[in-house]
Amino acid sequence: MTTIQQPRILGAGVDRVDGPLKVTGQARYPNDVNLPGMAYAAVVRSTIPSGRIRRMDTTAAEKSAGVLEVITHENADHLGEAPATFIKNPQPPLQDDVIRYYGQYVAVVVADTQQNATAAAGLIEVEYDRHEALLDLHDPRAERIKDPWGEDTAWGDVRTALNRAPVVIDQTYTTSENTNNPLGLFTTLAAWDGDTLTLHDSNQWPNMIQQVVAAMFGVPTDAVRVLTPFVGGGFGAGLRCWSHIPLAVMAARHVGRPVKLELTRPEMFTGLGHRTGSVNWIRLGATRDGRLTAIEHESLTTLPLDGDEYEPCSSVSTWSYASPNVTARDQQVRLNIPWTNFMRAPGDAQGNFALESAIDELAWEVGLDPLEIRLLNYAEVDPKTGRPWSSNALRQCLEVGARRFGWSERNPEIRSMRDGHELVGYGVAGVSFFWYQQPCSAKVIVRGDGSAYVRSAVTDIGTGTYTIMAQLAAGLLGLEVEQVEMQLGDSSMPVGTAAGGSGLTAALGSAVHDACGRLIQKFVDLAGTDPFSPLANVPFEDVSVSEGRLFRRGEPTRGESLARILAVHGLTELSADGNSTPNSPDELGMTPAGARGARFVEVRVDEDLGRIRVARIVTVNDGGRILNEKLARSQILGGTVGGVGMALFEDTVTDKDTGRIANATFGDYLIPVNADIPDVHTEFVGEADAFNPIGVKGVGEIGLVGVAPAIANGVFHATGKRIRSLPITMDELLD
């Protein structure tokens, strides 16, 4: 790929290419799509957490105005099992009378209008035989799963190191359950045509939805087409094939019409999973001057009875700091709760809160500046393997952030800074985010007029994938961004991976990079067959591309435009497929590093009332090469807001007896409002990452991580109170 000159458009803060469509309402989200003859579905959810359905009376619902069909476990189609995909999915709904959590779907009503469907759903009477439910994380009867992913890690001898350490921090940190709450209500519009199915669906992974639905309904994978060109946010909520999707598909088959099922906000709380709460037990051993000698991190998180979740909270402790002795272990507890699920920075968000709080406690214990202790224990190489990082600018994040924030101007004593009624505190946290990448593919096509289009089945959940991939392809093909048309969010396009795990930019970008390289090769080969071409006899390695033209490097006049090459050969277009698979750390001899970051916050705590305010945030991140600074900054800002929510507000409350989520509305589940968010300064540092050909590290999630511990650490500096559980609320700060 040395033939392609350094792309010139990369990094520019190009406006979203899909922006005009979105602000003019022309972008069609799944719930905007309507089809002729469409019917509407409404779900009925269980109101007990555990037991069996004894009796259901659907008579009134069936007689209700406009009702076409009522489906319960008694007349539901028998569906195939959810296949074993990379991410485990819920088994098909309505297959038995067993209730596993409050909010489980027990019926779906189809009617001619949404209002009729909703009203009829309210007429269904369900009687249950209620069984005792497991709802408490610490319930000894609940199944505990040790080392759930075979990833428990240990090196050195933590036990001995802790016994010998002159300084030990031994604390427990807990985080609350959070709910993803994308603004767009998840919708599935299912339309059968014979044995083929089209789904307009809110999700983050069209190919996975396609695969699961096809298996459940016993049709070939390519008989199912999933269209997700736009999604109203996901934050991880769209990474599974949730039960409302097969419900809509089944309903459409029953009534022989397209069926639209749009979840309500309360249904979003039970139907799309939520971030597991966590208990993190951390023991740090250190020398008197603050050098880590041991890290022991154990976590406990929750699982639904029939689910699966990857939430390795302890893993951050295996890569964040240099320590010769480390143990990291995770456990999960199965409960009668709605699914726990990925939410922006799963595992890391909780584990980082614990680790960065503990590191802060260590700093105060040994009398070291909380910034200095992080620099002192910086992991120059991967502490587990000793391999070099593919890139790691954590040190720079901390140093640059400290300068921007004015960290050195603080009075290091606790309760030393005051402004009227308010105690002022400064807090810092470092972030070492996980690395994740999956295989992905894309097709790139150059048309007769020299413009291009890029296709992949992946979707853009609002992060800016459309824009950065257009920029990337434009740079690689020597075109303007406007000359590249993007086509995403269609499972019939080249197979793509999830918009999740901060891994899509590297995965799709590497596939686009591969496709563009192959396409240029094809153009060069084609030109080579034309003896009159200025590029005849120019070897591929010597060809550069710019302004839609191929030319011999160093000799810009000796070249030919892509359009002309097509015309000369009588072609209307030329295309190439590109694929990416993650590189092997063994082969490259390096450890792929996810994004890195540092957070600096100023918090103010009203001493009498306990009221907390975040006054200032500086967030500096290493995302490798930043393809579009404006959109990357948006990701960091959004993540920061989520981090403030996690720190101060967000708490999905479950009633302890019934398992009902008690605050499943936007009035009751608090997320930050504008007035809660202060001035946020963002900055990017670092260099192109060496692990993938385009040098990127995803930044979709890291912005959230580290905000909560930085706030908690600031609260400690302000008040002298160490809050080890999230969210931090005023009742904990009232004396």
Partner: protein, 326 residues
């Protein structure tokens, strides 16, 4: 769809007649409570009588009284200059409630009648709620939650009265004009709301078919200082954890007269008569304020999540008094 009838009369008499003769009829004004609760399946009126076309809108000065038409919106009242000058804490309470969008729809009469935000009342899937289904019990009292009432509560109901506006209005002895087929009656706001007792479904003295037409707000004497302090987790768009409405007339460092009411803590907007007694003719000192606060928050009814509100409420009042007297 669940059907209901809808009428939009143009005279007060017609509106009252329409509701009075249909036991399943409700008045509809801004709809910010009624429509929400209908959608949630908590309220099921057979007839909605839309009163928004009735001539009950606007604010009139009447001597030392401000007469506010029941259909005046929250934003309209918040923009009233006399109120801003003479009783700014009423304006502060209005503007700290809801959001601009809601305040443009919500009316003053409706604000006084807004239903509790209790999560157990608002979800019909919860079987036990004495306010929603008399005699069914109270689920909230067995749950951990921080937004419930600590004063006026009982094992039958701990639902909080959510209005910010009602707090300074009870402090000012506002009077409610109530119209019915029998004619008009006037009820002081301090006697308008009912403690839950054994009948939490009865929240006020209104009888079916009675309509609030206006609220009289007595203007405090010139020179009165007032303040509404609202404490909540986030900076806006949230109901109060605690709030205090205080108005004082000062003579140097001595409080000549005081009005005190608190929100976020009571099953009704909580008038602090005891605090007023402590404050009257007392020096404006921390000791006085603490004593006023202790007098207001007495015999609280607590559940695990609300215990902190006792001290928070006291400090809220102390802070409000400190600021308004300094």
């Amino acid at each position: 769809m669940r059907e209901f009838r809808y009428e939009r009369p143009t005279t007060v008499a017609e509106a009252i007649r329409a509701v009075a003769h249909d036991p399943e009829a409700d008045f509809l004004a801004g709809g910010t409570t009624e429509v929400d609760l209908m959608k949630d399946g908590v309220l099921h009126p057979d007839l909605l009588v839309d009163i928004t076309r009735l001539p009950l809108r606007g604010v009139r000065r009447n001597g030392t009284m401000l007469q506010v038409g029941a259909l005046t919106t929250m934003e309209e009242l918040a923009a009233d200059h006399t109120l801003a000058e003479r009783a700014p804490f009423v304006v502060e309470a209005l503007l700290r409630g809801a959001s601009v969008q809601l305040r443009n729809m919500a009316t003053i009469g409706g604000n006084l009648l807004q239903r509790t935000r209790c999560r157990y009342f608002r979800d019909p899937a919860v079987p036990a709620c004495n306010k929603r289904e008399p005699g069914s019990g109270c689920e909230a009292v067995n749950s951990v939650a921080r937004m419930h009432a600590i004063l006026g509560a009982s094992p039958a109901c701990i639902a909080l009265h959510a209005s910010d506006l009602a707090v300074p209005l009870v402090a000012l002895d506002a009077v409610v004009h109530i119209e019915s087929e029998e004619g008009e009656r006037l009820v002081p706001l301090t006697q308008f709301y009912l403690m839950p007792g054994e009948t939490p479904d009865r929240e006020n003295v209104l009888r079916h078919g009675e309509l609030i037409t206006a609220i009289d707000i007595p203007l405090p004497p010139e020179g009165t200082r007032s303040l509404y302090l609202k404490i909540r987790d986030r900076a806006s768009y949230e109901f109060a954890l605690t709030s205090a409405a205080v108005a004082v007339i000062m003579d140097g460092a001595v409080i000549k007269d005081a009005r005190v009411a608190m929100g976020g803590i009571g099953t009704i907007p909580w008038r602090g008569f005891e605090a007023e007694e402590v404050l009257r003719e007392a020096p404006a000192t921390p000791e006085t304020f603490r004593s006023a606060a202790d007098g207001t928050i007495r015999d609280p009814f607590l559940v695990p999540g609300t215990a902190f509100k006792v001290e928070l409420a006291k400090r809220t009042l102390i802070r409000a008094l400190t600021e308004v007297t300094s």
